[in-house]
């Protein structure tokens, strides 16, 4: 059994020299890489979010707090493992396992680099465990089975919050996986393949993120939904559902869910890197050095990891910036914006690709004509007179109403605050000292103005400070 797989067609990487032992070594290396990366990712996230919130983050255990995740993991392992009484025992145990196993599957088809010679041997092998003609679909399949872990975990806990988390997660996955799959379809159309090595190979000229920018944006949004990260972390929204599907989990089982979540972050980042950001290919100015020297040998691993961690940073950045969406807004966004946009984009890409492949029409001239027409349209739209009555200017002329619409409101731009009644009181005191009162209107502060004036004082003080 020399060759593990028959030399697959439709795959760029050549695995025909791989032996079983080599595959086992690669699999173990991937496992080690993922586990170490998760430890790093937890530390990285806490550190970066800490910096973003003007605090140091973990800094006690080890240099720069690097060992913090290890101590956290140890704590989780040594905690008491509680199985709630109402739990459905078998499924309760199975759920975290499903999550972790499915998250581990994805990296099997992610190319870390091109074919390299393993040091001290004559073995040449691609830096990838395996590849299929349907590798990206395989990734989607692994992700969609992984969601069973979340759903079953929520169900089997026999408790309300986990169940709500599970239901939310189901709805979320069904709606966001559609947009995700559609955004990937345009990459398939241009690359002409679903194998990861072939897709990386097709990005020699430029990365697909540039011509397929809308698909890339849709993928970035839906991947946040896919891995339950802020602003889409509704299945485990701690403000609403305690911690959603993993509320009743503790100790090792909880650690598995946690592990799966971070591995999934690495997974979607790796998929985005491979499909949209050129995979292991060096970024442009570097790729031109010395006839593409940096695209050969072991260099590509560096570029791959750099892109991966850049995306991980993006995850953390988004988490530190955005708030969680309300559930109905989230669903509306998914179904009414994301999916129609993804569909329209796929249709457009398919039409362009079809015209390029099946007709003799010069696509460039058509696109030039279209863009000229579009430009003319924009110019023509400038000639159309604007609608009158910008409402903002009118509002400025309206005198300040402290309770506009029933709410206590601050003044709009251009509106003036009425003089503070406290100042009026001070004037009264001064006026009492001096027989000739200066301001007759401020002499008697009307009781009705006290409340608003009290509120206004704060803003005044702020202005002064």
């Amino acid at each position: 059994m020399n060759a593990l797989l028959p030399a697959a067609v439709g795959v760029a990487a050549d695995f025909s020299h791989d032996t079983v032992w080599l595959a086992v070594v690669k699999a173990v290396l991937i496992l080690v890489f993922l586990l170490v990366s998760v430890l790093m990712a937890i530390w990285f996230e806490r550190k970066v979010v800490g910096r973003m919130q003007s605090r140091p983050g973990p800094n006690v255990h080890g240099p720069f707090g690097l060992l913090q995740s290890i101590s956290d993991a140890m704590k989780l392992l040594l905690k008491e493992d509680i199985t709630v009484k109402a739990a459905d025992k078998l499924v309760y145990l199975l759920a975290p396992m499903i999550s972790v196993f499915c998250s581990l599957l994805v990296f099997a088809v992610i190319p870390f680099g091109p074919a390299v010679r393993i040091p001290f041997t004559s073995l040449v092998t691609p830096l990838q465990l395996t590849d299929l003609p349907v590798a990206v679909l395989y990734i989607l399949a692994a992700a969609s089975v992984g969601v069973y872990g979340i759903v079953l975990g929520g169900w089997s806990s026999g408790s309300t919050y986990p169940l709500l988390g599970a239901v939310r997660s189901t709805a979320q996955v069904i709606s966001y996986e559609l947009a995700m799959g559609l955004s990937l379809v345009s990459v398939f159309l241009l690359a002409g393949s679903m194998s990861t090595s072939q897709i990386v190979d097709s990005q020699r000229q430029f990365w697909w993120a540039i011509p397929l920018l809308p698909a890339f944006v849709i993928y970035m949004i839906s991947m946040m939904g896919e891995v339950n990260r802020l602003p889409f972390d509704l299945p485990e929204a701690e403000g609403e559902l305690v911690s959603g599907y993993m509320t009743e989990y503790s100790s090792m089982k909880f650690a598995w869910f946690f592990l799966a979540e971070y591995i999934n972050m690495l997974n979607v980042s790796a998929v985005a890197t491979t499909l949209f950001l050129g995979g292991w290919r060096a970024p442009w100015p570097l790729s031109a050095i010395n006839d593409g020297m940096l695209n050969h040998g072991w260099w590509p691993v560096l570029w791959f990891l750099a892109k991966l961690w850049l995306l991980m940073f993006f995850f953390v950045w988004v988490r530190g910036t955005l708030l969680r969406l309300r559930y109905d807004q989230f669903m509306k966004f998914g179904w009414k914006i994301l999916i129609p946009c993804a569909l329209a984009w796929v249709a457009a890409v398919a039409v362009v690709q079809g015209v390029r492949q099946f007709t003799d029409v010069n696509l460039r001239s058509i696109l030039i004509v279209l863009s000229v027409l579009m430009f003319l349209g924009v110019v023509a739209s400038l000639l159309v007179p604007e609608k009158k009555g910008a409402p903002q200017r009118k509002a400025r002329r309206v005198p300040f109403d402290a309770f506009a619409g029933g709410y206590p409101v601050p003044p709009l731009p251009g509106q003036k605050l009425p003089p503070s009644s406290r100042r009026a009181r001070a004037v009264v005191v001064i006026a009492a000292a001096e027989p000739n009162g200066s301001d007759p209107t401020a002499a008697e502060p009307s009781p009705s103005a006290t409340a608003t004036a009290a509120a206004d004082d704060g803003t005044k003080e702020a202005d002064r400070g």
């Binding site: 439709g10 349907v134 395989y138 169940l163 069904i174 009705s448």
Partner: protein
């Protein structure tokens, strides 16, 4: 007896004619009992979710078998579409309906068991007939159809040979989806009450906008029976538990002040209630 012998000879005939490796045979004999177990689980499980899990097990094992038989596209799509989307929808509905309900064994349709049994026998007879009359050609192998990779081969068949059937199925599905939309659509008779409308109504009704203060927020006395003070120094009656108020067990702010020693700045009497009431009005 002949049927049984045909069934038993089935894997053997494929092995002799086609090209089934020992690995694939081992995979089959590992997965087949699992699949039978899953299928039986679907029939005999008490809880609906367990039955759904049985189907999932069968589907994923089936995907492995497809992949082993050089149809990776079919195998993967089976998992993405059926396991990932369709079964997920089933689970979603099961969870919404009520997860702890075991299946009710009361029959709502009269005579459905008899009809079911007869139909089942009919299908069994038809299947046995098909298997008895089936003849197996010499296996051709998948090298030729998969020459340009499996997805391309499948695409040629679907979008070349069977394009009409494919389009018809597509139209059918879209019609069904549209029908579901039309049937579940209802016209809104009253205006929608959203978050903004609710907030407006709350403000307009003149109720309390902020959360209720906790009772007894003083520097030196923290007790359930002492009302909290608002920023203007007035006691907030509602901050004390309704039970204590009804029993007449609440203490007033002045009482507390007397106990505490009169050093505090609590002087509710200083501000006349009437003036404050007017002052808060717009």
């Amino acid at each position: 007896m002949t049927q049984l012998s045909v069934l038993l000879s089935l894997p053997a005939s494929i092995t002799s004619g086609g090209n089934v490796s020992s690995g694939e045979t081992a995979l089959f004999w590992v997965l087949a009992p699992l699949m039978v177990f899953g299928a039986l689980g679907l029939l005999f499980a008490r809880k609906a979710v367990h039955a759904a899990l049985g189907i999932v097990l069968v589907m994923i094992s089936l995907a492995f078998l497809y992949t082993a038989q050089e149809a990776p596209f079919l195998g993967v799509v089976q998992v993405v579409v059926y396991t990932g989307a369709v079964m997920m929808l089933f689970l979603f509905v099961l969870m919404l309906v009520g997860v702890d309900n075991s299946d009710s064994l009361v029959e709502t349709l009269k005579g459905q068991r008899w009809i079911g049994a007869i139909l089942g026998l009919g299908i069994a007879a038809a299947l046995i007939g098909v298997i008895r009359t089936a003849t197996f050609d010499q296996a051709k192998g998948l090298t030729a159809p998969n020459a340009d990779s499996n997805p391309v081969g499948v695409a040629r068949v679907i979008f070349g040979q069977d394009i009409f059937a494919f389009e018809v199925v597509g139209v059918l599905l879209i019609t069904a989806a549209l029908g579901a939309l039309v049937l579940t659509h209802r016209q809104r008779l009253v205006p929608r009450v959203g978050q903004k409308e609710r907030a407006d109504a709350r403000v307009a009704s003149g109720g309390r906008l902020a959360p209720l203060a906790a009772p007894g927020v003083y520097a030196r006395s923290n007790a359930m029976d002492t009302p909290a003070l608002d920023p203007e120094g007035r006691p907030i009656e509602e901050s004390v538990s309704r039970v204590l108020r009804t029993r007449g067990q609440r203490r007033s702010a002045t009482e507390v002040e007397a106990q505490v020693g009169g050093t505090s700045a609590i002087e509710p009497a200083q501000i006349e209630p009437a003036q404050i009431e007017e002052g808060t009005q717009p």
